[in-house]
């Protein structure tokens, strides 16, 4: 067994134990399991959000796109900052509604605000369908990282299997607290790995990033402006993708749900202010991708650029460190994805759809059972259908972003109705699916998901305006 392997496994096991330990002496009811009893302060919320947002995609996808596509990858640096700006205005209001009505999940919000269980069930199902590719993305990434980092000593299937079973264990026992605690390890390791490699490789091969870019400008200048090395990812595509991903960011069921775990609306607002700092390390990931483009230009799979370059530049123990960082970077977002997918199925599909009188204990037990089901499903998919990383994520985004009009209008506009939101979501999804499956993505240069969102917004607004406003009942949410 080599040093790299020991570092990887020690980290994975230590993380899982910490995650399990996080839930000790907390009585696990749904409130504690999904939203941490609504007691998280500014630091833990920041770590948690950063933990779930910054994924293997950051390691592999962002550098892979820099390597194979060039400038279109810059959208990954930017969209988070847009999302946090938007969250400054939206999330505090959402948190208050969640607190007042004891909400745990995104469909809970739709059910309460629009007084419609079918709408909630639809939102839950779209959420779960979008989460599964995201989860698979984490697993595929994890497998790649560990396989390369251990120098093929561990096959990707084994790596995925072991780390995912451990992830499953700490989600099962500790819920969101487990995710939050493991985030600490993950955030630190990830940032160290990205900074060391991102500053290191341009320095080692070119004597600094300025000289690296100079060489790139001389040899491949088209990589540094849109549409980069692609034919279809031009300015319009990046603009529409930025709006899609910026608006869709907090519409992910797991990110949306995590908002409720904060102690107060003010914590959420202050968190929005400091979140954009977390985007800056992505710059260093780009540096790695661009350096790889010049140093090892003929890789078949761009997603491997980061790992290949580290492999050829650093000693094997450091490769082990990167592998370990990559593994926890997949485990943390996976844990929260599994947690929320399970809760959506148990609380918002089973309870809301089939058994409205199910007790909270039943829902809690079923949620935990669903953790096992979803884990197995994602494992099978990750092993059977590995795919190119970024594409999957964009498809998931297309789905969840369709919730945006329903959430924002629901919070701030009394006249938003369930009929309008329901038709908007259905039309939006139909447009996206039609465009993608007929090969029209991008459509007129724009991201298909964005086109769907635009149509969805128009339909939602039009139906709202053509419905006679009714007086809100006393327990209506929009009296906030």
């Amino acid at each position: 067994m080599n040093a790299a392997l020991i570092i990887i496994f020690a980290t994975i096991i230590f993380s899982a134990l910490l995650g399990i330990y996080a839930g000790r002496r907390v009585k696990m009811n749904l409130e504690n399991w999904t939203v941490g009893g609504r007691r998280f302060g500014i630091i833990i919320i920041w770590l948690l959000m950063a933990g779930e947002i910054y994924t293997t995609f950051t390691f592999l996808g962002a550098s892979g796109w820099a390597y194979s596509k060039g400038a279109p990858t810059f959208y990954i640096l930017v969209y988070g900052a847009l999302a946090y700006t938007l969250s400054f205005f939206i999330l505090p209001a959402l948190w208050k509604v969640g607190k007042r009505h004891g909400l745990h999940t995104q469909p809970d919000f739709f059910i309460k605000r629009y007084d419609s269980r079918p709408l909630g069930i639809l939102v839950a199902l779209i959420g779960v369908f979008s989460i599964i590719p995201y989860l698979q993305l984490q697993l595929t990434g994890l497998g790649l990282i560990v396989e390369v980092a251990s120098n093929q000593a561990v096959s990707s299937q084994w790596a995925i299997g072991i780390s995912f079973v451990l992830t499953c264990a700490f989600v099962y026992t500790s819920g969101i607290r487990g995710t939050a605690w493991v985030s600490i390890i993950k955030d630190i390791m990830m940032i160290v790995a990205v900074l060391v490699v991102g500053i290191g490789v341009p320095m080692i091969y070119f004597g600094g990033f300025g000289k690296m870019f100079q060489t790139l400008i001389e040899q491949k200048p088209h990589y540094l402006v849109l549409p980069g090395a692609t034919s279809h990812m031009g300015v319009l595509w990046v603009m529409s993708t930025l709006l899609l991903t910026g608006l869709g960011f907090y519409m992910w069921p797991h990110v949306f749900g995590s908002v409720f775990s904060a102690k107060s609306a003010n914590i959420i607002k202050r968190n929005a202010v400091i979140m954009p700092f977390y985007q800056i390390p992505i710059l260093f990931v780009f540096m790695v991708g661009f350096t790889a483009l010049l140093v090892i230009p003929s890789l078949e799979n761009g997603d491997m650029a980061f790992l290949e370059l580290v492999n050829r530049t650093y000693p094997s123990w450091f490769m082990g460190f990167v592998g370990a960082a990559g593994a926890v970077t997949a485990m943390v977002p996976s844990s929260i994805l599994v947690l929320f997918a399970s809760t959506l199925l148990a609380k918002n599909v089973y309870k809301a759809g089939f058994n409205p009188r199910a007790s909270e204990e039943t829902v809690m037990r079923l949620s935990r059972f669903m953790v096992l089901v979803i884990t197995t499903l994602a494992l099978v998919m990750a092993i059977r259908f590995p795919n190119e990383l970024v594409n999957l994520l964009i498809i998931g985004y297309d789905g969840v972003t369709q919730f945006f009009p329903g959430v924002v209008l629901g919070l701030f506009w009394k006249r938003a109705t369930k009929g309008a939101v329901l038709s908007g979501i259905i039309v939006g999804i139909a447009v996206v699916v039609a465009l993608i499956y007929t090969g029209h993505d991008p459509f007129l240069g724009m991201n298909a998901g964005f086109v769907g969102l635009a149509v969805n917004s128009i339909v939602t607004l039009a139906v709202c305006l053509s419905t006679k406003p009714k007086i809100m009942d006393k327990q209506g949410i929009s009296d906030i």
């Binding site: 700006t85 603009m239 107060s264 979140m275």
Partner: protein, 73 residues
């Protein structure tokens, strides 16, 4: 809408204007600033400025809006 909220919203529009809607104007390599091609430099600069813009929005909103009932500080 209270004055503080209005000011905050105007500040909040800045990242969207600079990083999304200004893109057609900044899609270029020259001038290279701090070793970065212009497009990357521009985007990075605004990502770094965004938390400061939001900080200003936070404090101005607090200054001009009436304190909410039962809000922690």
């Amino acid at each position: 809408m209270q004055k503080g909220t209005r000011i905050a919203l105007i500040l909040g529009a800045i990242p969207f204007i600079t990083m999304v809607f200004a893109l057609p104007l900044v899609n270029r390599i020259e001038p290279v600033i701090l070793g970065l091609p212009f497009l990357l430099f521009w985007l990075l600069a605004w990502v770094v400025l965004t938390p400061f813009i939001l900080m200003a929005a936070y404090f101005l909103e607090k200054k001009y809006n009436l304190p909410e009932k039962g809000e922690d500080k």
